[in-house]
């Protein structure tokens, strides 16, 4: 075990897979010699060679297309899209090609590509460095979509993603790269060093894609969150004193509906939280699934706490970002219905 932040945990996963399997390589803008703008690929170029840690031209569509071709020819590329906000030039390659290759070819061709991309706000990044587009991709069949909330999960899930023969979108909430964030930007930032999930094994381990984890057990209301929002929700629950059960989804597709349904059937109440905009967001899918599975157990309408349906703001970031206060209000509203 050693203390790792999320960047180091990701780097460790990449290093281990590259050491184990000569077909694994990392590629993307600035990932090679320099080691990535967030330093996730630091040292891999020097250790494994320039051909395994490829700096690439600034053309996300070209990067993903190239990765697909490599995947078809037996490699296991791990692509970094520098910011999730810049994934759209590659949208066609991801949706029309990567996601559907296996199906459209009757199982003849597939490309085991992992796409890592930093997402989310809370970093004063404005609308071009803060987006959470996961819901756009969860709507696409043939893609697995995951988002870890801590270093331990990040490493285990990334190793699973790389070993998976299906394409995986691996969203990295960049606000929590260096430490957990409870939504209160006025507090000094904290590091992962004192967090139990900042304890990460040096060696290979994996966390299966498709399994949620109960971050915190409780009885009165189920809170569904992922990424940075797991920490904001935990702080809100603590502050409210409500006996809530917090589920960290970790994997959006496939979704661990069993864990969710078991919890909601127990609590009878549910609050869904994400940073992304509201309409048509992944939260809507969660609400739909929960009501289909648990309708007769529900004691109150399911609440959503999300970003507003506006482009991610710069000046008003903290009015946009789902706050502890908004989460507490939602928790209290669901509990008012008796």
């Amino acid at each position: 075990m050693s203390k790792m932040n999320m960047v180091q945990a990701i780097n460790s996963a990449l290093d281990i897979k590259m050491s184990q399997d000569p077909c694994v390589l990392v590629m993307g803008e600035d990932v090679g010699f320099f080691g990535g703008v967030f330093r996730c690929t630091e040292g891999l170029y020097q250790k494994h060679g320039p051909h395994r840690s490829l700096d690439m031209p600034i053309a996300e569509g070209g990067i993903i297309a190239t990765a697909i071709g490599m995947g078809v020819n037996g490699l296991r590329p791990v692509v970094e899209i520098q910011f999730a906000d810049y994934i759209y030039p590659a949208f066609d390659q991801i949706v029309s090609e990567l996601a559907r290759l296996r199906h459209r070819s009757g199982g003849e061709f597939w490309a085991p590509v992992t796409i890592r991309t930093p997402c989310g706000g809370g970093i004063r990044g404005g609308q071009t460095h803060s987006q959470s587009p996961e819901g756009i991709f969860t709507h696409v069949c043939g893609l697995k979509t995951v988002m870890p909330s801590n270093p331990y999960d990040a490493k285990g899930l990334l190793i699973s993603a790389i070993e998976d023969d299906d394409p995986v979108l691996f969203f990295e909430p960049k606000r929590i790269y260096n430490g957990p964030f409870d939504g209160d930007h006025n507090k000094p930032s904290v590091s992962w060093a004192n967090h139990p999930l900042g304890e990460v094994p040096e060696e290979h381990y994996s966390i299966p894609i498709g399994q949620a984890t109960i971050s915190q057990a409780g009885n009165d209301v189920t809170v569904l969150a992922y990424g940075t929002m797991v920490h904001v929700a935990a702080a809100a629950i603590k502050q409210s004193g409500i006996d809530a059960e917090l589920i960290d989804l970790r994997s959006l597709v496939p979704l661990d509906l069993n864990t969710i349904a078991n919890s909601v059937k127990k609590t009878g109440r549910c609050v869904v939280i994400h940073e992304a905009t509201r309409t048509g967001g992944y939260g809507a899918e969660l609400v739909a699934e929960v009501q289909e599975e648990c309708f007769w157990h529900l004691l109150a309408p399911i609440e959503r706490v999300t970003g507003w349906d506006t482009p991610y703001p710069h000046a008003f970031e903290w009015e946009y970002f789902p706050s502890q206060e908004r989460i507490i209000e939602a928790l209290q509203r669901t509990l008012e219905n008796r």
């Binding site: 390589l25 051909h51 690439m56 031209p57 053309a59 569509g61 070209g62 297309a65 190239t66 990765a67 697909i68 071709g69 490599m70 995947g71 078809v72 020819n73 037996g74 490699l75 030039p89 066609d92 390659q93 029309s96 090609e97 290759l101 296996r102 199906h103 459209r104 070819s105 009757g106 199982g107 003849e108 061709f109 597939w110 069949c141 043939g142 697995k144 023969d165 299906d166 498709g210 496939p254 979704l255 509906l257």
Partner: protein, 412 residues
């Protein structure tokens, strides 16, 4: 009433519209002897002129001439001729079957047979092809069973794509034929990635990709040029300039110059070749393959040809172009030209040609009967319904298991 603009906007024009008499005399068609053949590893800057020229081997007198003459054996030429004729017989049959309502869609490559057939022959069997829907000739040249092609078009119980794709969007992994996407140009840069992986692994297999003239406008084409140039990927990037993109003339994508010229800014050789000249297509492809295999990186080839048939069975070209264009096309027909060459060599005859034509027609008819015995789109049998959920992921996740169950047994 708002005042009309005096517009200065430039709109490219088609050379001839339906009521106009085609006259292609504006096309510069050099003689075979005027093109010199460089060393395969030459600096692209030394052969920039080739992007504006036209490599030809077969002259108007049916003789093979010039430095690009690939000196193929008569057997190889007859093989190429036979494959092109087989493609045409197949296309004709399938088109007719669509007209009779047996297929929902079909798409011919009439007039462009030399492109895929000669290029497949110039490549190694292990080289990977990323074709468009108009390179069915690759499958013929590489020996894919015709019945299997028909079964794909029929979406029947023997369709290797399990009824998931429109007719002609074939896939044949064993034969190095990548699954054709319905989305234009998306595979162009994937071929570059495939070629990069080949170099990464230290193998000497190369990749080849095709795109139409109209589709060169897609960003994927520039990604392919950029990435193949950056990493010197062993790949051949082909543009099949058949003059039309459905109803849109090539001038909407050509920017007033040749397509081959587009690679020059990427320091990639751009070569323009007479796409109806089997020997020239073979020679240029062989050159590019040699360059790629020896570490010289990519080559960009414009195959200058003409789309004789309608775009597809859903198209009526008489509405937008002169019906006489094909007949007046100055570069002739690829099958006729190779046939006449073989005859001029004393290696073929009109009688043999007619006999082969008849034989191929009959074999395609027999293949069709066999393919139909495995079912058709309208009447089945198809793959089992539950197979629809297979291959979305490698293994069926829980939510798809549930959906499959619901579909098969009704709700819950």
């Amino acid at each position: 009433m708002a005042q009309e603009f005096t517009s200065r906007l430039h709109i490219p024009k088609a050379p001839f519209r339906p009521d106009e008499e085609p006259d292609f005399s504006y096309l510069d068609i050099p003689s075979p002897e005027s093109s010199s053949k460089p060393e395969p590893l030459i600096d692209p800057n030394a052969i920039r002129h080739m992007a504006y020229g036209l490599v030809r081997v077969l002259d108007d007198d049916h003789k093979a001439k010039g430095e690009w003459h690939p000196q193929l054996s008569a057997d190889k030429l007859r093989f190429g001729l036979k494959k092109m004729m087989h493609v045409r017989a197949f296309d004709d049959r399938m088109f007719a079957m669509q007209r009779q309502g047996k297929l929902c869609f079909y798409l011919k490559c009439t007039g462009e047979e030399a492109v895929a057939v000669a290029q497949a022959m110039a490549l190694d069997q292990q080289d990977m092809c990323f074709p468009t829907y108009r390179q069915q000739g690759l499958l013929f040249a590489r020996g894919y069973p015709v019945v299997d092609m028909m079964c794909q078009c029929l979406s029947n119980s023997r369709d290797n794509l399990k009824g998931r794709q429109l007719p002609v969007l074939y896939s044949w992994k064993e034969g190095g034929f990548f699954t054709v996407s319905g989305n234009l140009a998306t595979q162009y840069c994937q071929a570059v990635g495939w070629a990069m992986a080949s170099a990464y692994k230290g193998e000497d297999h190369i990749a080849a990709a095709w795109v139409g003239d109209g589709s060169t406008a897609e960003a994927d084409v520039y990604h392919a040029l950029q990435f193949s140039s950056t990493y010197q990927a062993p790949v051949i990037l082909n543009v099949v300039n058949n003059q039309w993109a459905i109803s849109t003339p090539q001038s909407f994508a050509s920017a007033g110059t040749t397509f081959a010229a587009r690679s020059l800014g990427f320091h990639i050789p751009g070569i323009r070749v007479d796409g109806n000249d089997f020997l020239a297509v073979y020679a240029v492809t062989q050159w590019a393959a040699q360059r790629a295999r020896n570490g010289g990186g990519p080559t960009f080839i414009e195959l200058f040809t003409y789309r004789v048939a309608s775009h597809s069975t859903s198209d009526n070209p008489d509405a937008y172009r002169s019906p006489k264009e094909a007949e007046l096309w100055p570069l002739g027909d690829p099958i006729t030209r190779l046939k006449n060459h073989l005859i001029s060599l004393g290696e073929w005859s009109e009688e043999q040609h007619l006999a082969l034509q008849q034989e191929l027609k009959e074999s395609v008819t027999a293949d069709w009967q066999e393919a139909l015995s495995y079912g058709s789109l309208e009447e089945g049998p198809h793959w089992p319904l539950s197979s629809m959920f297979d291959d979305v992921f490698k293994e069926l996740p829980q939510h798809l298991q549930i959906q499959r169950q619901k579909m098969e047994h009704g709700h819950e």
